[in-house]
């Protein structure tokens, strides 16, 4: 039987790559150090497969077809963007497990849109290249990494409670597998940030700390109780990405969180939180 052995929350802030020297050295050390620690912890979980929950920023999907949630079940490459530090190329997927998530979903009321040939964006590639790749180095083996994208950036948004239910469906699908998969799920997203709006550059540390505290408490009910308007007003359109946190938390059985790092970084226009989700007793 397959198992979700753990999860993470982490940011995918491209400004970090475009303007690496903008914040003070201590801040840079905190953030880059957090990615390294996530990589070490990922390797320590001895996973066989990783799932990254990302977010389209109105590049991958157009207004002619905006899916609520999509999974890459076939060939992968990317990222689509040219960003300093990110290498473009072919990416290893676990097509068998991704296909199982889709067919399990179809039998259980989750109608996945499917990407059979998919080019990922930075919301996948930043966690992949700064956490999954180093963990592969530590383990000396490949970690195929399934992309899932939730509608966080373009409306209609996936409802927050549905994101959590989708995480639970992913867990059920993994657990229905005969293979001894050990799966780690990464919710990729900034906390507060305003993308392209007049408020851009603000960070809402109070909101961020609230979210991190809910993560530590494993309080999925409270995390999914936010209203979209309130999220946008308090923490910006970018904070809609807490859907990815809810999905990851919903996938880890009885998750409790452990904060790895937090930094409010106006120079990188985002509140950056890193957290590990530990499975509880079951």
């Amino acid at each position: 039987m397959g198992k979700i052995v753990g999860g993470f929350w982490m940011p995918h802030d491209p400004v970090m790559l475009v303007a690496p020297d903008a914040p003070a050295q201590a801040v840079r050390d905190t953030v880059w150090g957090a990615y390294e620690r996530c990589a070490q912890r990922l390797a320590a979980l001895d996973p066989t497969t990783v799932i990254i929950i990302g977010c389209d920023h109105y590049i991958l999907f157009g207004p002619h077809c905006l899916p609520s949630y999509v999974i890459g079940t076939g060939d992968l490459d990317g990222p689509i963007e040219g960003l300093p530090g990110l290498t473009k190329g072919v990416i290893d997927n676990n097509t068998a497990l991704a296909g199982r998530i889709v067919s399990h979903g179809a039998a259980n009321g989750f109608d996945w849109a499917v990407a059979r040939a998919f080019t990922v964006d930075h919301s996948y590639s930043i966690p992949h290249q700064y956490v999954v790749r180093p963990a592969e180095q530590v383990l000396g083996r490949s970690l195929p990494t399934i992309p899932v994208y939730l509608a966080c950036g373009v409306d209609p948004y996936i409802p927050l409670p549905r994101a959590a239910q989708l995480g639970a469906q992913i867990r059920a699908a993994v657990e229905s597998s005969d293979d001894d998969e050990r799966v780690v799920i990464i919710g990729s997203g900034g906390i507060s940030h305003w993308v392209g709006t007049v408020e851009m550059g603000q960070v809402s540390e109070a909101f961020d700390q609230e979210i991190m505290a809910l993560g530590v408490a494993g309080d999925l009910a409270a995390l999914t109780a936010y209203r979209d308007d309130d999220i946008k007003a308090r923490a910006g359109n970018g904070a809609m990405e807490i859907r990815n946190f809810a999905c990851a938390m919903g996938a880890v059985p009885d998750a409790r969180g452990e904060q790895i790092a937090y930094a409010a970084v106006p120079e990188w226009v985002t509140g950056l939180g890193f957290l590990q989700l530990h499975p509880g007793a079951r």
């Binding site: 491209p14 475009v18 109105y58 207004p63 373009v154 993308v195 851009m200 359109n237 106006p266």
Partner: protein
């Protein structure tokens, strides 16, 4: 007024190389293919990101559009066009891409 058609035009400009080139060469010719009002076309042609956002266009699109195609790509000027002034204009400096 249709934010959907404005988003369709800006999305094509953000993902299709050939669309970008057509827009650079002949903005009116490019915009003719969309069922937009004259005013909406003007917002696009003149990079009026404030009016576009007021019409409901996703800010991720207006920012990408500005950074890729506007004559003045500065994010300071972008925020100015959105109505920022004073200290708010300087609240970040990095050469932003989408995040």
């Amino acid at each position: 007024m249709s934010r959907h058609l404005l988003e369709k035009a800006l999305w094509q400009l953000s993902v299709e190389r050939s669309a970008k080139q057509r827009f650079r060469d002949d903005p009116d010719g490019f915009l003719k293919r969309f069922n937009l009002s004259d005013e909406e076309k003007r917002w696009v042609r003149e990079f009026d990101v404030g009016a576009l956002q007021a019409a409901g266009v996703n800010p991720m699109l207006t920012m990408g559009f500005w950074q890729e195609l506007s004559p003045d790509r500065s994010m300071r000027r972008y925020k100015e066009r959105l109505g920022a002034s004073g200290e708010a204009l300087n609240s970040f400096s990095a050469a932003l891409k989408k995040g």
